[in-house]
Amino acid sequence: MRPCSPPTFLCLLLESVLPDPYREAIIGDLIEQYTLRVESTSRFSASCWFLSQACRSVPPMVWCWLRSGNCFINISVAVGVFIFMATLKFAADLTISKLVSPDQTTDVILAPIVFLTITAIGGCVAARIRRGATLFLALMVTITVATLIELKVCSVPVPWWYQFGFLTIGPLAVMITPTLFGPLKQQGSVT
């Protein structure tokens, strides 16, 4: 029989968002149940069930984790990494301004590349220090981008989806990048 697996994106998201002690157990339980449901119903129905369970499982787990007291350490790590990311961004902007002549089109093209690279690096650094810090870091990135959009810092007229991209892909890069590289290490250690 062809092995079936739940939507990869949802697994990655769960892997990024669920707190440490029970993450493996919850995702494992969901995958096992998903396989059984695919056999007894259909792939679509099983995927809907998986999505509903994933969406409903995150809030109680995050709340439980916040109440456990570990969040203060995670917030501190997130703030530290955020400062590191701001420094990186400043250094990148300075380097680009010296290498490339200031031009609005170049800015519009380079800004998302620099932003995504820095958020991905920030996510990996935060996850390496403390996995739970990525959630707070993603939240801080979202708030910062939303504030910058609201303050209309960008002087160049850009379409709405350009700004929306920063608002969504930035936090996702913070959370998902460490997970994307994580399974490779895990697979290596299991086999």
Partner: protein, 110 residues
Amino acid sequence: MKRGELLGSLEHIILLALVRQDGGAHGMIVRREIEERTGRNISIGAVYATLARLEAKGYVSSFAGEPTPQRGGRATRLFRVEAAGKRALQISEQTIRSMSAGLKDRWGTI
């Protein structure tokens, strides 16, 4: 369990579901047991969050199981009720029984 500290309804139900499973059970078995017996469709996250709370209180203990291919190579976590959990269940049941004694005939009029 401190005097007067009652179990929450989900804590109570989850402890009862665990008592029914000898030798330990993982979250999905507990969830299925609750769904079959009560009809409540709770999320697996709510089950694990409650189990985490019960573990912090010392009412249940957990241990890691073997990773299997059916679980995408992820290890299971099995939970079992401890003596303190059984005591908490007894106190909770006793309290509810005392409080509801003699009220059955009134429930129809409430």
